[in-house]
């Protein structure tokens, strides 16, 4: 039994064989027919152990004395059992993953930023350092090559072993190669997607060269940021960018407020000018009309009207004024004195008593 188990895949589907149960104490020993029938039963059981089940997501790789025979599809199958034949099941549909720079198990809640730094810290172009956590997802595309072409250091036995060591080494190598060609600013901003795809293609190319039978489906940067030691400085650049935008927004706010205000002011100036025009024209028309009408009546009795208007005016002017009556000579002597010290307009005697006709000039 023990030596048979060696080549059996873990968790094999063979029905259990219980040799101790096949003791036949009642039969006489060394009876020929008894021996033959016992051997036949044993053989029958051995043949039955050749039945195996291939799950939906698996393919069975069938070997005869270690030599590859065929691939068996999902379902119940039979092949000559061990030690002559053997079946290795490969989970071709299963998506396997490798994590670089972190491990899911240690990432829960409080990820330790210093974990796996030797994996996640790497040089970029212009000798800067960046911290990248990456996930590689892959699948078995060719189970035969996958089993027979590449060996991982730590697992030489024949079973579906993921080739994790190989994929991990290749992924790290490809990641550093691509990142080394890219500037850190590009990595942190626009080029992340491009580098991811480049890394994926590079990993695929190398694994194809190894004929590993692996298809790399997805390469994703889980986290990409500057190292702890310089993170503050990088944050400040972001702040500076914010500051820049804020300054510009403020200036734009100023622009947006000053233009409408000015437009309002312009409108006001124009409206005032228009109002002035209306006013000026209307007043002129009014004044002109009044003058024309007055003139009409004035012409009818020129002298009388003229005298009346004059007297009315002088009356009105003198009503509220102090009056000093002097004769003409005195008035002429006083004039120079009175001109001083009095800022209010004076009625020079000649003027106030200006004769009719060419009355005082304005």
């Amino acid at each position: 039994m023990g030596w048979e188990d060696k080549w059996r895949p873990p968790g094999g589907q063979q029905p259990p064989i219980n040799i101790p149960d096949i003791k036949l104490p009642d039969l006489p020993p060394l009876n020929k027919s008894t021996i033959i029938s016992a051997l036949m039963i044993a053989f029958g059981i051995w043949v039955l152990t050749g039945i195996y089940k291939v799950e939906l997501n698996e393919r069975g790789i069938v070997l005869l004395f270690g030599k590859y025979m065929k691939v068996s599809e999902p379902g119940l199958n039979w092949f000559v059992p061990s030690p002559i034949g053997d079946v290795i099941k490969v989970r071709v549909e299963e998506i396997k993953r490798v994590e670089i720079g972190f491990r899911s198990s240690t990432r829960e809640r409080q990820p330790n930023p210093n974990a796996f730094l030797e994996e996640s810290l790497m040089l970029t172009k212009s000798v800067n350092i960046v911290d990248i956590d990456m996930v590689v997802q892959y699948q078995v595309s060719d189970p035969i090559n996958y089993l027979f072409k590449v060996a991982d250091d730590d697992s030489r036995e024949l079973y579906d072993r993921g080739l994790e060591g190989t994929v991990r080494s290749v992924a790290e190598s490809a990641l550093r190669e691509s990142v080394g060609r890219t500037e850190i600013d590009m990595l942190l901003t626009t080029d992340k997607g491009r580098v991811q795809e480049e890394v994926r293609q590079l990993i695929q190319k190398i694994l194809d060269k190894y004929e590993s039978g692996i298809h790399v489906g997805l390469v994703q940067f889980q986290d990409i940021h500057p190292p702890q030691e310089v993170r503050e400085a990088f944050k400040d650049v972001n702040n500076a960018e914010e500051d820049k935008n804020r300054l510009i927004r403020e200036a734009e706010g100023y622009l947006n407020s000053i233009i409408p205000v000015t437009r309002g002011k312009v409108e006001q100036i124009l409206k005032e000018a228009e109002a002035y025009r209306e006013q000026k024209e209307k007043r002129a028309e009014g004044d002109a009309s009044r003058f024309t009408q007055q003139l009409e009546e004035y012409r009818k009795g020129k002298d009388v009207t003229r005298k009346r208007l004059y007297l009315e005016t002088v009356e009105a002017v003198l009503e509220n004024s102090k009056k000093i009556l002097v004769d003409k000579q005195t008035a002429e002597k006083m004039m120079p004195i009175l001109s001083f010290g009095q800022d209010q307009a004076l009625m020079p005697p000649g003027s106030a008593g200006a004769p009719t006709g060419a009355g005082g000039v304005k």
Partner: protein, 292 residues
């Protein structure tokens, strides 16, 4: 008695026969290759998988892996052309191509790895030593690795060990811990520069926008002033024409009337007025001797 002895002899013969039969078969797995030896001396190599026969007892079989084998090389410090130290962690993929040579020269995988390590270290040193750090990191890592692989493989072939070095890849080429700080310092300075550039750009841009706004405002107001003056001028000219048209009907009357109006306005209140007794206004005040 006779039958018991016969049975015993038969039994012994059966066991020996089974042993011989077992010893004359061997299985080579799909991923294996085998060398057949006569008491440690090479006889033949078998690479075809499946069940094989051999002369029992006299011939022995040793199996080797036929797959691409992995060898993770311990990280080593390498000095570049510009005298900077890099910690280089590499791995190699190799395979046993000629089991006969392999058996004769190396015999075990562990020994083979020792040889491979020596070869790759020396190739890495040589390749890295002739390039600067910047070149190794950025420019052509692919080419370096291809060169190292090619030359390492050539050496392995020359040594006739029956192995081929298929690939040498640099997994990590990073600065040693003590050199990282200087990189970090440089990165911080670089960031500071970028940050102050951003802020300065922000101010520049903001000032431009403000200046533009102010200019716009001034222009708009000037434009408005211009229009205003045109409108007011038009108004004035229209008014002047209307007045002139009316007043020129009798300029003398206009003058008279306008003067009176001016007196009323100009000489309103609290003026001291010295009246001459000869004035027109006072004509009748002292006119007893004159005609009425």
């Amino acid at each position: 008695m006779m039958s018991e002895v016969k049975n015993l002899v038969f039994g012994i013969l059966l066991v020996v026969a089974l042993f011989l039969a077992g010893s004359s078969f061997y299985v080579v797995q799909e991923f294996e290759q085998a060398v057949v030896l006569r008491f440690g001396k090479f006889v033949t190599a078998v690479s075809e998988p499946g069940l094989h026969t051999k002369i029992p007892i006299i011939l022995q079989v040793t199996k080797y892996d036929k797959r691409l084998l992995d060898y993770d090389i311990t990280p080593t410090e390498i000095v570049t052309k510009d005298k900077r130290t890099l910690v280089v962690d590499s791995f190699s993929k190799w395979k046993i191509t000629d089991p006969e040579l392999f058996y004769k020269r190396v015999r075990t995988e562990i020994k083979a790895r020792g040889r491979i390590k020596d070869i790759i270290y020396s190739e890495l040193w040589q390749e890295f030593g002739s390039h600067t750090l910047e070149e190794i990191v950025s420019v052509n890592r692919q080419v370096f690795m291809e060169n190292v692989t090619m030359r390492a493989n050539q050496k392995a072939e020359q040594m006739e060990m029956g192995i081929a070095i298929i690939d040498v890849r640099i997994k990590r080429a990073d600065l040693p811990e003590e050199n990282k700080n200087s990189v970090f310092r440089r990165m911080r300075e670089e960031r500071k520069r970028i940050a102050s550039q951003f802020r300065a750009e922000g101010e520049e841009e903001a000032n431009k926008i403000r200046a533009n706004a102010d200019k716009e405002k001034t222009v708009m107001l000037a434009e408005a002033y211009k229009k205003e003056q045109i409108i007011r001028g038009e108004a004035d000219s229209v008014a002047i024409k209307i007045y002139a048209d009316a007043f020129k009907k009798d300029p003398e009357f206009y003058e008279f009337q306008r003067s009176l109006e001016a007196y009323r306005k100009a000489l309103t209140s609290n003026n001291a007025v010295i009246l001459s007794d000869r004035s027109e206004f006072m004509k009748y005040f002292n006119a007893s001797d004159e005609k009425k």
